[in-house]
């Protein structure tokens, strides 16, 4: 019995080590990494500057998935060709980014701003309460418009253009169109945020505020306004991440998406080290690739369905045990 298992494991190992398999797993891992970087990117911006661990981030992602899905569903009746649909994706991205950024800004000004004088735990608590409210509002809206009990909102999935459903084979390596699209969008967003932080004047202000907010204040920067902007930006990115997930059959738009994305986002941010955008990107790569490898092993050799999901949290625990500050973290960020 155990001999059979051993042989099949060796078989699987041989199959896994084939260059084409490795390349396919790598592409899959990149697409997962892109998704993780997207859902964690906004969170790390907000934490890095303000020291607010935003529990509502997953709910904002979920809002983005529904709102973006709505825009896509409305737009599909006007678009026929696959490239027109792709174009509408970017229209939807702009709309979702705007709406979520407005919501994020309002949340910061109305609820989080009064709490800066209190211990940081109160900001975590507040955003936790906001999640409860946002999730329930979504649940009411979704049941009111009759989108439930379909957990993966089929209408939004249906707007995915055919070009993203096909597989493409280049030099013996097969890759799914959606995976490639996710990698492209993820790279675009990560590149944009990186350019914003390091190449623009406002990015310099943001970094100054996150290094030493008192000093930045003394230099005449209105740190409060920077906080609002960054919170809006982070919420907007969460929304776009949600939009990207609305097309992904393994995620899809649903109310539980809020906690399903919140936890991996936390994991990625913590693994990378609180407050470093670079760390978050590397952590997303690490988690994405390991996730892809364990998913392959689960599909091909190991019959424990919890394996890929468990791996994400195991990486968190391992990294924190070995390096408590995360991969790129510094000890004291945002007063923590």
């Amino acid at each position: 019995m155990s001999e059979v298992v051993l042989v099949s494991t060796l078989d699987a190992l041989g199959q896994f080590l084939r260059p084409s398999t490795l390349a396919e797993v790598f592409v899959d891992g990149l697409s997962k990494a892109a998704v993780y970087a997207m859902i964690a990117g906004g969170l790390t911006l907000i934490f890095g500057l303000m020291g607010v661990l935003n529990f509502a981030h997953g709910s904002l992602t979920m809002f983005g998935a529904y709102l973006g899905g709505l825009v896509l569903v409305v737009a599909v009746s006007q678009a026929t060709g696959p490239f027109a649909r792709l174009a509408y994706f970017f229209v939807a991205a702009v709309v979702v980014f705007g709406l979520l950024a407005a919501l994020g800004g309002a949340l910061e000004v109305g609820l989080i701003r009064p709490l800066y004088d209190r211990p940081p735990i109160y900001q975590i608590l507040l955003t936790f309460g906001v999640t409860l409210v946002l999730d329930e509002v979504a649940r009411i809206a979704v049941s009111f418009y009759g989108l439930q009990p379909i957990t993966e909102w089929q209408a939004a999935l249906g707007t995915r253009p055919g070009v993203l459903s096909e597989s493409y084979t280049v030099a013996g390596v097969g890759a799914n169109g959606l995976d490639l699209f996710q990698v492209a969008v993820g790279a675009l967003v990560v590149g944009a945020v990186w350019a914003f932080l390091t190449r623009t004047r406002y990015g310099l202000v943001v970094r100054a505020g996150s290094e030493d907010s008192e000093m930045a204040e003394a230099l005449g920067i209105d740190v409060r306004r920077v906080f609002t902007t960054v919170f809006a930006l982070g919420a907007g990115i969460a929304g776009v991440a949600g939009l990207l997930l609305a097309w992904d059959p393994t995620w899809g738009a649903s109310v539980p998406l809020a906690s399903e994305t919140l936890l991996p986002a936390f994991v990625v941010v913590i693994i990378g080290g609180l407050g470093t955008f670079r760390g978050t990107v590397y952590a997303a790569l690490l988690v994405g690739l390991v996730d892809a490898v364990t998913t392959w092993w689960f599909v091909n050799a190991i019959e424990f369905s919890a394996l890929p999901e468990m791996t994400v949290f195991l990486i968190l625990v391992l990294v924190l045990v070995v390096k408590p500050q995360g991969l790129f973290g510094v000890a004291e960020v945002g007063g923590h």
Partner: protein, 374 residues
């Protein structure tokens, strides 16, 4: 219409309030936010159900009181293991690593077919095959006369105690589970008011100074975490004993820890009795806004007191009052609780009990005592 919750609801207040108190015991008194506390609650609950199904190496009819203690000890062991690693970190990192451990365990149990044939739906007490499932007795183990069985749909009744007292099965469960919860509360109270408890508070107020004074704070934190885990395990065992079933989502999921957090904040963070009141508040609102609301909720009240005409009135675009009520109120207590929670964090940061204590300038018992002496 009465606002008091049903006896069933009060039982949930007892076992979950005990869990929330154990969460507050570590988070409110040492300042280390244990965001994976549901692990200990779930471990206790699963131990009871698995043992009663004969899946563990204890006899399936082990007295429930022993299972409760075993559940506490299992949770204590888990807390020692998790705490030993986690207390190297502080602040947000501590919250996250405990959350990480708890999610690993949650996902693992959710897909572990040892637990039941459908682990995602959880496990119920069915007993080993061919045997009637055991009853869960609270009392003195091995002395039949001093035991009363608890359970949601089963359990003992008491008739003619002292010639006058009669209790239904639910009321028996209420008193027995309440007794265990009270005992645990008093034990935690005792620890908080001991020199050990003073060190816990010293860690919360200024850990560096506590260390400078000469306390090995790591050991104190770990011991406090283990004690907290023990009581969380007991609370989980009571939960499983009453419900006679357990599922990953109502025991091990991180939002269960979130519910404990909710109860602690509303009741008063850093007050041991606060979480009990917080949970009472929480359950009362949930019950008040639910459709059945057997204690007399808002919906039955509205249905009885609003006329047919009023219910059928159209508010907006074909939406009648009746539909609006069932859309926006029924089953959506989380929305209103979430709003209340946000308001509490913003305006009542000390919670119900903490604010009251601040007003009277003492613990409530102390204040009443003083009034009476005057």
């Amino acid at each position: 219409m009465t606002l008091l919750p049903r006896v069933e609801t009060m039982i949930a207040v007892f076992y979950f309030g005990l869990f929330a108190a154990s969460f507050d015991f570590i988070s409110g008194y040492t300042g280390y936010l244990s965001f994976g506390h549901a692990t200990f609650y779930g471990a206790g609950a699963y131990l009871v159900v698995l043992a009663a199904n004969g899946k563990l190496s204890v006899p399936y009819d082990t007295p429930f009181m022993l299972l409760v203690v075993l559940a506490g000890l299992l949770a204590l062991g888990l807390a020692l293991a998790i705490g030993a690693v986690s207390f190297r970190l502080s602040g947000v990192y501590f919250a996250m690593i405990t959350l990480g451990f708890s999610q690993v365990i949650y996902v693992f149990v959710r897909d572990w077919d040892f637990v039941s044939s459908a682990p995602r739906d959880g496990a119920a007490v069915i007993g080993p095959s061919g045997v009637t499932p055991p009853s869960f007795d609270i009392g003195v183990p091995f002395v039949d006369a001093l035991n009363l069985a608890v359970g949601q749909l089963s359990g003992d009744t008491v008739e003619g105690l002292f010639g006058v007292l009669n209790f239904s099965t639910t009321e028996v469960s209420y008193y027995m589970i309440g007794l265990v919860a009270l005992g645990c509360y008093l034990a935690m109270q005792r620890i908080i008011h001991s020199p050990f408890g003073r060190v816990m508070i010293a860690v919360r107020e200024n850990e560096e100074r506590a260390r400078a004074v000469g306390y090995d704070t790591f050991r104190y934190k770990l011991a406090a975490f283990a004690a907290s885990g023990f009581f969380a395990g007991v609370a989980g065992a009571l939960f499983a004993g009453w419900r006679r079933s357990v599922a990953p989502d109502n025991s091990l999921f991180f939002l269960v820890s979130g519910d404990a957090l909710l109860a602690s904040i509303i009741g008063g963070f850093g007050t041991l009795a606060g979480p009990l009141f917080g949970r009472l508040f929480d359950e009362t609102i949930r019950e008040f806004l639910s459709k059945e609301g057997a204690g007399g909720g808002l919906l039955p009240y509205l249905r009885e007191h609003l006329s047919e005409g009023a219910l059928a009135t159209e508010i907006f675009n074909g939406l009648t009052v009746q539909e609006a009520i069932s859309t926006f109120i029924n089953g959506h207590a989380s929305l209103y609780l979430g709003l209340l929670f946000v308001l509490f964090v913003l305006f009542v940061p000390n919670g119900l009990l903490g604010t009251l204590r601040e007003r009277v300038g003492d613990t409530l018992a102390g204040a009443v005592d003083e009034r009476l002496r005057r």
